[in-house]
């Protein structure tokens, strides 16, 4: 049998993940992701 985990734990973690995402967006991480994604990633394709 698997251990029972109260569902409120999940809700708290979901709220924390949303807060984490929002914090990242507020400090401009989306721009960093975009600038990386719109240029060919030389390391990813094995040329960098």
């Amino acid at each position: 049998m698997e251990k029972k985990i109260p569902v409120w734990v999940t809700y708290i973690l979901i709220a924390a993940s949303i807060a984490c995402m929002a914090f990242g967006i507020c400090r401009g991480e989306v721009g960093t992701v975009l600038s990386k994604a719109v240029n060919i990633c030389m390391e990813c394709i094995g040329l960098g």
């Binding site: 049998m1 698997e2 251990k3 029972k4 985990i5 109260p6 569902v7 409120w8 734990v9 999940t10 973690l13 979901i14 924390a16 993940s17 949303i18 807060a19 984490c20 995402m21 929002a22 914090f23 990242g24 967006i25 400090r27 991480e29 989306v30 721009g31 960093t32 992701v33 975009l34 990386k36 994604a37 719109v38 060919i40 990633c41 390391e43 990813c44 394709i45 094995g46 040329l47 960098g48």
Partner: protein
Amino acid sequence: MAEKKGALRKIIQAGWGILTNAYVKGFLPGGPPIYKGKLKQICVPGMNCYSCPGALGACPIGSMQALFDGRQRRFAFYVTGYLAFIGLIAGRFICGWLCLFGLIQELLYKIPTPKLKIPKKIDRPLRYLKYLCLFVMVFALPFFWRSAYGTGDPFFCKYICPVGTLEGGIPLVLLNDAMRGTLGWLFKWKFFLLVICILASVFIYRPFCKYVCPLGAFYGLFQKVSLVKMYVDEHACVSCGLCAKTCKMNVDPKKTPNSSECIRCRECVNACPKQALSMGVREKHTLS
């Protein structure tokens, strides 16, 4: 009936793969090599290289490392929060339903050859390899290691990821003469890993997902607390063992329905003759 449901999953996997790689211009000779629009600020939930000529979204694992390996050494709150949110809602559901590389491995496994059964003694420790990839190659090394110039490296993408080679490297090299002239040892190394991965996929079900994928490892961390879970109706179950036999990820759904290895493909649910297995949203307070 079970076969029909299996086919539906394949259609969804393929449809998602096409939808997220729908930048046709990137595949045309002489066209722009990759999509450069604003959609790329959003990560796709599965493994999908953002240097694939057709990719419309960003790769979550690549993006995470890009944020870690910047000169300022910052934690990747946006991508980590985004992936944790998905994991908390559905666990590894993405692996089973919305990952193009997962589909490619599944199709390779369909090639009719004798299949390899990895003994438990080897299989179990190998499963931890993906956590090593996640914590060392995606988190620790890009975050802490710095070159003499103060720059970091996306270690997983650079030295391991076969997805980048298959979806990005090979098409770009084939479509661009200039790139063909710059191939060095790194491309050969990554190409070698890709060949190993492809060959292994013919004999072993989803070897990359089982042993290497850091994204699957990350989602797996949330499997036991996610909102969508697997359930076993103990009264209906006749312990025939068909679910465990059906599971190609080698999970025993009766014993551990929410194992971190389960990709929630529902093949066990479809196979159960007594409908004792189900997948659904958790009840209000507690559930196993």
